[in-house]
Amino acid sequence: MTRRVAITGVGVLAPGGIGVKEFWGLLSEGRTATRLITFFDPSPFRSRVAAEIDFYPEMHGLTPQQVRRMDRAAQLAVVATGEAMADSGMEFAGLDPARLGVTIGTAVGATTGLEEEYRVVSDDGRLHLVDHRYTAPHLYGYLVPSSFAAEVAWRAGAEGPVSVVSTGCTSGLDAVGYAAGLIREGSADVMIAGAADAPISPITLACFDAIKATTPRNDDPGHASRPFDASRNGFVLGEGSAVFVLEELEAARRRGANVYAEIAGFATRCNAFHMTGLRPDGAEMAEAIRVALAEARTNAEDVDYVNAHGSGTKQNDRHETAAFKRSLGAHAYRTPVSSIKSMIGHSLGAIGSLEIAASVLAIRNDVVPPTANLHTPDPECDLDYVPLTAREWRTDTVLTVGSGFGGFQSAMVLRDPDVAA
């Protein structure tokens, strides 16, 4: 008997929406949280917009020592973990800790904390032989981002399998897929799974400037993220975390848990093509979608909503549109497709988990979030991208996808478990 995996708790910290309710409010109202960068002076950079969270860790119960030793991304993950645990209604104290595990996704780990510490020990780049006498004691935890998973494990009391999954911009999908696999194979009964990134820092801006991946639309920051629009010219950097409580479906039903969705299928493939480039045909993402649908025993026609990667770069949105047509056939034209990155930006490794959160809330509410800022269709992107306004729509089965540097292409099928497959 195959063990099935349910999502029974959700915690979200997103730009413009700390908490599930606020996050869904932003998405369902089609508001945007992108703005001119406030964390530091962005004037030296080509792209100066981002989706920032107004996050005060002490207000979320982190102690001064936790704040000191954790990078911002780890702080976001730990707070989201606490929210997900509370939301699940599970008695964590009564669990066997050996059967509780953690998988946290992150693309760039503690890059913000690392840059801050680098500036100190190198005296703003003056020293090649950096000065160890200025090293912060928690620097090792920044060096190796498995510290994020350790922090979450301590928060949750987990003593089963614990790790970080770091596959660039598909990390947030891959971490949850990895965790679901551990429950399915019996290595754990409950998993805390999700992702976090907080990459809004000068080095991140500089490296995306260098390849013109981020948008230079600095004169209209609230409308800078324009997935699928003809005027799109790059993504908007974001930050955030979403964390879930996953458990075996029958156990969840026995305890009367509030089941958001079943993780019915998951697959990841590589394009084996280029570290940052995409072939326009979308073949590898289409293959990941096909395999995820097959694992879910779902036909393309049963997909009610496609939560797109939709980063807003020229090549991504074309690539992805081609992948949907290739994998879903004519149904690609009939099913709503949208990108929440239009509202909360692209938080690298975290976004895949934030998109899972948006997907399960779409199932819960029978509402599809819109693609904001989509005014001028691109003839090469000719699907139904739900422009500007959310849509009431019977949503039982969602396909959510990710694509990232390194060539990773991932797809997950989420389904209302009360609806017969």
């Binding site: 090293t135 009391g157 089963g160 590898e284 390194g406």
Partner: protein, 403 residues
């Protein structure tokens, strides 16, 4: 379904290439010495295990040189050698049935230091166009996948020093899900000034100046570890598929695995390592007395050595199994450590020879049968490999001679 290893590629501080590494390891030759990649004389820790004689131009295509960190060049080289050793040719299995799962700990830190310096000393436009991916944790998987056209399920795990085993376990999972070949393991290295001070911040680096006494796990003199670079990449294949394509050799089977996490400090409860070992043996269907050798994590820090010795004693009895730590000749390779020890365990099975632990005078209180003073000839059919990561990560993996 059985997951077997059909190819090994090694870049180790005591040997570049699998056979060079294995010969040096069996002879007890250490690759630990003064740091050469930068001037470490001003730092309290000055010793490392650096891969000798590695000339990137000889191993990595020139167009990849500007976009790769040193550790990625080592990883690409190990991956090339693993596939060549396996006699694998593109097209031997469908592209979507072959993937890459690696472990990383710190990414391409040397590359990252250079670009951070460019940013802060000169300005944003001096940052390399390759910075967006050359330093990040997924780089070795991505570059390897591209180089060999492997489009199957791929991944990257980060669990500090435990990662090398976690990656191989994930490779086995992907084979169970229907893939036929996964290139897997860990290659790591952040021996640059910025990586060095970050490693020192962990508190475990040895400040010893003598390579012969700086890293002494399970010795009463233990006072920290020496870090190293490199690791091993393995070709992990579904056994039937390997046979069908006529794999040149089968080193052994990935028979069992488990990972646990320690209780939070202050609870006073037993660390998770013993449980990881027991679960891995159970997963392999192996009784403790079937295990012929344990490749220890060998932290070189008294408290952690004590925990590991206690776990081994609890499972196997005092002196109940030969224990060895060839990493006394390489230093600790972070994500590279677990997969390099799996390579050593498979070679021990092949040759009936347990490599030694060098320099160590075993502390009797640990109650371990530590293999010291030279290699030990012994029929090895089943080996246990243990790896741990900073913060409480424990992984254990069992390899067994192929049926």
């Amino acid at each position: 379904m059985s997951a077997v290893v059909t190819g090994i590629g090694v870049t180790s501080p005591n040997g570049l290439g699998t056979e060079a590494y294995w010969a040096a390891t069996c002879r007890g030759e250490s690759g630990i010495g003064e740091v050469r990649r930068f001037d470490a004389s001003r730092y309290p820790a000055r010793l490392a295990g650096e891969v000798p004689g590695f000339v990137p131009e000889e191993h990595v295509p020139s167009r990849l040189l500007p976009q790769t960190d040193h550790m990625t060049r080592l990883a690409l080289t190990a991956a090339d050698w693993a596939l060549a050793d396996a006699g694998f040719a593109p097209g031997d299995v469908p592209a979507y049935a072959a993937g890459v799962v690696t472990a990383s700990s710190a990414g391409g830190f040397e590359f990252g230091q250079r670009e951070l310096r460019n940013l802060w000393s000169k300005g944003g436009r001096y940052v390399s166009a390759y910075q967006s991916f050359a330093w990040f944790y997924a780089v070795n998987t991505g570059q390897t996948s591209i180089r060999h056209g492997l489009k199957g399920p791929s991944g990257v795990v980060v669990s500090d020093g435990a990662g090398g085993l976690d990656a191989i376990a994930q490779a086995r999972r992907q084979l169970r899900n229907g893939s036929r070949l996964i290139l897997s393991g860990g290659v790591d290295g952040s021996i640059c000034p910025w990586g060095w001070v970050a490693q020192m911040a962990g508190g475990g680096l040895s400040t010893g100046a003598d390579p012969a006494t700086a890293y002494l796990p399970f010795d009463a003199r233990a006072a920290g570890y020496v870090p190293g670079e490199g690791g091993a990449i393995l070709v992990v294949e579904e056994a039937e598929s390997a046979r069908a394509r006529g794999a040149r050799h089968v080193y052994g089977e990935i028979a069992g695995y488990a990972a646990t996490f320690d209780p939070q400090q202050g609870t006073g409860r037993e660390p998770g390592l013993r449980r990881a070992i027991e679960l891995a043996l159970k997963d392999a269907g192996a009784a403790p007395d079937e295990v012929d050798v344990v490749f220890a994590d060998a932290a070189g820090i008294p408290e952690l050595d004590g925990v590991e010795a206690g776990a081994i004693r609890a499972v196997f009895g005092p002196g109940g199994v030969p224990v060895t730590a060839p990493k006394t000749m390489t230093g600790r390779l972070y994500a590279g450590a677990g997969s390099l020890d799996v390579a050593a365990a498979l070679l021990a099975i092949r040759d009936g020879r347990i490599p030694p632990t060098v320099n160590v005078v075993p502390e009797p209180a640990y109650g371990l049968d530590l293999v010291v003073g030279g290699p030990r000839e012994a029929a090895v059919r089943t080996a246990l490999v243990v790896a741990r990561g900073h913060g409480g990560f424990n992984s254990a993996l069992v390899v067994r001679a192929a049926a």
